[in-house]
């Protein structure tokens, strides 16, 4: 009897997705950027996008984060008060507001995501002001709090990022993006260009913050160790297409697509 009462589902059967991409394609003239990509991202979920250089990872990320318009396909996002809406049909001010309040974008090169001639504290504080914070003392306190969270010394709060090391700049960029408590954060090669020891520290920090805050993230990287640590799910890209996707450990430990097998077998151990 009791066996009959058990249903083959779990939790709430319908989950309201945070983002849904459908048939997203983007070319540069004859060159394919990404081709016919579809997926759904749930709140709090971390998706990794892997693939060799030129496979279309950054193109896809730039479309998803509204930095680039797709040729075809749609990207819908669960807007507060409005529900799922096509982000490319929003008015320019609405899209800007979305990007400022609900999203964070961590660029591979900190120069693209930081204001190099503004102090570290200012870089974090101006994001709070952009969403309406006005109280100077609170902004400064919150800024200092975030510097501590990303393990930057409080004594550097008035220094400009151009005096920082690459790893410090990247941590500052993360603080600048997380201070507004976004629901979704986009990261393109967040550990690229950093020394291995610096990478480990940054990864550990990101892992802690993403879990603690419960934010969703889309992380592009060519480094399988990064996704092993950070991502719940994985999409493997090749020539612009997603060739395999699934749970991160499943894709890495039991890859099915020839290209994924090649990718996994060409690193020593992840």
């Amino acid at each position: 009897m009791s066996a009959l009462m058990l249903s083959e589902t779990v939790g709430t059967p319908v989950r309201q997705p945070l983002m849904r991409a459908t048939g997203v394609s983007k070319s540069y003239g004859e060159t394919i950027g990404c081709l016919d990509v579809s997926f759904t991202l749930n709140p709090g979920e971390v998706i990794g996008i892997v693939g060799e250089s030129g496979s279309g990872k950054s193109t896809l990320l730039n479309v998803l984060s509204a930095q680039l318009s797709p040729d075809t396909g749609t990207v819908e996002y669960d807007l507060r008060h409005k529900g799922m809406s096509d982000i490319f049909r929003l008015s320019e001010p609405d899209r800007r507001r979305l990007m400022r309040t609900d999203w964070g974008i961590v660029h591979q090169n900190p120069r693209d995501g930081l204001r190099m001639d503004v102090s570290a504290g200012g870089n974090v504080g101006e994001r709070l002001m952009a969403i309406g914070a006005r109280h100077y003392g609170e902004i400064r306190a919150e800024g200092l709090d975030w510097l501590a969270k990303v393990e930057l010394d409080a004594s550097r709060v008035d220094d400009k990022p151009k005096t920082f090391s690459g790893g410090m700049q990247q941590r500052l960029q993360i603080a600048r993006n997380l201070v507004t408590r976004p629901r979704l954060i986009f990261m393109d090669e967040p550990t690229g260009g950093l020394d291995v020891s610096v990478q480990a520290r940054l990864l550990d920090l990101l892992r802690g913050l993403v879990r603690e805050l419960g934010i969703a993230a889309i992380v592009v990287t060519h480094d399988l160790a990064v996704v092993r640590l950070l991502a719940d799910r994985l999409m493997v890209m090749r020539h612009g297409r997603v060739v395999e996707e699934g749970l991160t450990d499943q894709v890495l430990d039991d890859p099915h697509h020839p290209y994924t097998q090649l990718l996994v077998s060409s690193v020593l151990q992840v």
Binding site: E8, T9, V10, G11, R15, L203, P258, L262, S265
Partner: protein, 233 residues
């Protein structure tokens, strides 16, 4: 009461595309049921497919065909067709897995490695840490190591941290891949005690135990994985 784990007609074959498409059939049409409080020992020679079956029960390996169903709270989840977030939920609350080797996370101290699963399942920080301390203590990890990342630990110490992590939460289902492999007799007995306690509280356990003494102490029955080779009679 339905079995906690129900495997039906499960087949697994690896296709190695990087090696000319070589096929490695592991098992074929395998059935297995494990009830609450029962401990099943996967048996057979090296390469028989014991770890492959265990990983399939954790949805770490995808079945070629067939089903793996587990009782998860009030529901039954079929792991092969479940969405990734559902599998993650099942792993968070229902199925614990002690892999053969600890996967070391840079910079995360042993105490946190052990406390993390309980914390992610919603156990308050203080309680999760207390439980982690108790387990590390019982498994004879010297207290001076608790705040260090296990990267520099010996093989046996890493394995004990791994075991502690697997028992940090009272999972209804536990999967153990050679949990005593590199342990001395005293620590083997600690693991035996942990397994017996888990059985007593009703956990369904599937394990691989090479040590005959451990096997006799904990296993209710042996399951011959090699009996499910495609060419087996």
């Amino acid at each position: 009461m339905p079995p906690m784990i129900s495997v039906s007609a499960l087949s697994k074959e690896f296709v190695l595309h990087t090696q000319g498409g070589a096929r490695i059939p592991v098992f074929h049409q395998l059935d297995l049921e494990v009830t609450a409080g029962e401990c099943v020992c996967l048996h057979g020679p090296s390469g028989a497919g014991k770890s492959t079956l265990l990983r399939s029960l954790y949805a770490n390996y995808k079945p070629s065909s067939g089903h793996v169903r587990v009782v998860h709270g009030k529901d039954i989840v079929e792991l092969g067709s479940a969405e990734p977030w559902q599998v993650i939920e099942v792993r968070r609350r229902t199925v614990g897995y002690v892999s053969q080797f600890l996967r070391v996370i840079p910079r995360v101290p042993a105490l946190e490695v052990v406390a993390e699963p309980a914390r992610l399942a919603g156990v308050p920080d203080a309680e999760a840490e207390k439980r982690a301390r108790t387990l590390l203590g019982r498994l004879n990890i010297p207290e001076r190591l608790w705040d260090l990342a296990p990267a520099t630990f010996s093989g046996g110490e890493q394995q004990r941290v791994n075991v502690a992590r697997g028992f940090a939460l009272d999972y209804p289902i536990l999967l153990l891949d050679e949990p005593t492999a590199s342990l001395d007799a005293a620590n083997r007995q600690v693991v035996v005690a942990l397994i017996k306690e888990a059985k007593a509280r009703g956990a369904a356990i599937v394990g691989i135990f090479h040590d005959a003494e451990v096997r006799e102490a904990v296993a209710d029955r042996l399951f011959e994985v090699a009996a499910y080779r495609r060419d087996a009679a």
